[in-house]
Point group: none
Chain length 200, copies 4
DNA sequence: CATGAATGAGCTTTCATTCAT
DNA sequence: AATGAATGAAAGCTCATTCAT
């Protein structure tokens, strides 16, 4: 009488949407409350599932939080206009926008705060967000180098870290970032990196 | 009948060490565990006092944590060698050392992560640490400007934020900061700020 | 494909006894210790459950205490023998027995003592106990009035309150109530209420 | 050089006002919060003394609370107009006013609620308040008996307890007591007690 | 004698996790 | 697979009482 399941995996299949809803809720709460304040009960309510449903997919709170972080993907345009300063400014303005989203800095804060307790959070945040963004900026500078725009010997990684780090420092100082900030940064760094043409 | 020196304060005097021990323990745990994981029980054990002793001095967890943060004071030498890059490098190397102390970055992380929940932490951290350091670097650049070393129109605040921010970005990318990093930063920024001498 | 009777409620069902055990323990402790001394730990031990099990059912101590009070139900026979004094005496003797149960008066005490702090307790006690009992006595007198036994103009509510209140006053004066007390009360009140027959 | 103290008790004498302030505060809080919620800290603040000052005079919370209760004294006029009903009504209206003072019933509640835990409270309350009031009412009825106004065989104590108890019952039912309530009570009881004149 | 400081034990409430259906 | 029920362990905070000055 039992119907043979045609699909290779027997039993009730998982609803793929459920997992996504859980991850979304987890990420939202992780950013809003921080890791230790984020409660699995709150995620369960938010995602409209029960807690064992979450435990079936992830083995612990840390596991779920890291899975949620893993879904973060830097998805931003990679400008390539030919003008190095313009590309840098465009990239940094995207960065600025993402930091200023609600709880944008809180998420960074919690991965740093939890480094001793849940180091995986920081590792994943690096892998998904920090490293790709750094690579984008680095690529812009590499193209500039190929075009012979840069003086020799400049530490391009240091330049990249100044450009992004300035936003952290600015937020830490004021919780806000003015429009035009990116332009000011690029002006100084570009001046510091580019090859000075011989004057006549 | 005259009382020359009446008892200065009635009642049993507080052991002045006790308060300090509590604040030390609180600051240590705040940095190590983050605000929300920091428990008053743990502080009490660490400081070898009972919890009511803590509550007699501070009215709540948030009150104690902010008091602990308030004791943070930036106490660093303010180099003034006459050489702008040398002064910048010396200041940044001090900064680097403080970030690399155990949980140096975690403390920054937790004040950011708690911004929504306990904004006083971030406010105090700014007042005690961020702003003074920014002022030190700014003063070095202001002296350079007075000596006529800088090109016109450069945004000195942006420069300061790049110099400090680069350390945050570096840590976020790697959890470590190489010796010599400060020098690389200063080279680029100094190049970007200084007045270019006419060539012959 | 049709599911005639789907699982009536999903998830693990509650043990119906558990909730009852908690309510019983709560009511016992409420009467024995008073509301503010009644501790959730003690209830948990008494009912052999964990505290979260209690919090799953009731959201706070006040909530649980009021739920426990709500289970109180006046379940007493409503005598209707045709003789007004006999009915009054029978009803009051039941009342007397319930007051003399262990902590019978303490429960009344705590709902009064908590009136400022947890007014719901008094409200529920009225609804479940005081009002029904008053109605029982009032009904006896109303039947007497219908039978033309009462003189005109007597305040029957006042009579009811004297009959019950005398027990409170007696307990307050002596912590005990003699057998025969109800009869004495009824004799006076009945004399005061009934229509005096013309004498010959 | 030391001056011999002329008073027989050496050392600093106690300020008698201090003790009174403490007792006043204790009684106020006992009525307002109930015994178990009444905190010695709150009393100390209210009376502007330190806690050891309280412990020097009374050995425990229970001791202080009973001492506070002991200060209660029924101080009411004892009407003696020649009219029994008028005297009863006047006495009961005083009683009513004292019950309706803020927390008048809460105090009764807490002494009942604490009977198991601190029986001394109930004992003292009886001695200071309940018994004297009962005696006042009883005296009115005794005078009536002497004047030959009462029928034989009536239980005068039961009558007294109905008259006072009705107020408890009324408050328990409604938290308020209407003006005129005393008159209604007395009408019924007086009818029930007095000697019926022969009719012709 | 009076003070402010200190304490051990307790309170209500919440959490991450596991169980039973 | 999914649910609601259950739990041990902890959290922040307060209390009656005692100590040291």
């Amino acid at each position: 009488m039992r119907k043979i399941a045609p699909t290779p995996t027997p039993g009730r299949p998982r609803d793929p949407e459920t997992g996504q809803r859980i991850l979304d809720a987890a990420l939202r709460l992780l950013a809003a409350q921080g890791y230790s304040r984020m409660s699995l009960d709150a995620i369960a309510v938010d995602a409209r599932v029960s807690k064992p449903t979450m435990y079936r997919r992830w083995s612990s709170k840390a596991d779920l939080a890291t899975a949620a972080l893993r879904t973060l993907q830097l998805a931003e345009p990679r400008p390539d206009s030919g003008s190095t300063p313009a590309d840098l400014i465009a990239t940094l303005e995207n960065f600025s926008r993402s930091l200023l989203r609600p709880n944008g800095m809180s998420l960074i804060g919690t991965v740093l705060a939890e480094e001793a307790h849940t180091p995986e959070l920081l590792r994943l945040f690096r892998e998904r967000i920090v490293t790709p963004r750094r690579a984008m900026l680095r690529a812009i500078l590499d193209r500039a180098a190929e075009r012979g725009e840069l003086r020799a010997g400049a530490d391009l990684d240091a330049a990249v870290q100044m450009l992004t780090g300035a936003f952290y420092a600015r937020y830490l100082a004021q919780s806000k970032i003015e429009p035009g900030f990116a332009r000011q940064l690029v002006e100084i760094v570009w001046n510091g990196l580019r090859k000075v043409k011989a004057r006549r």
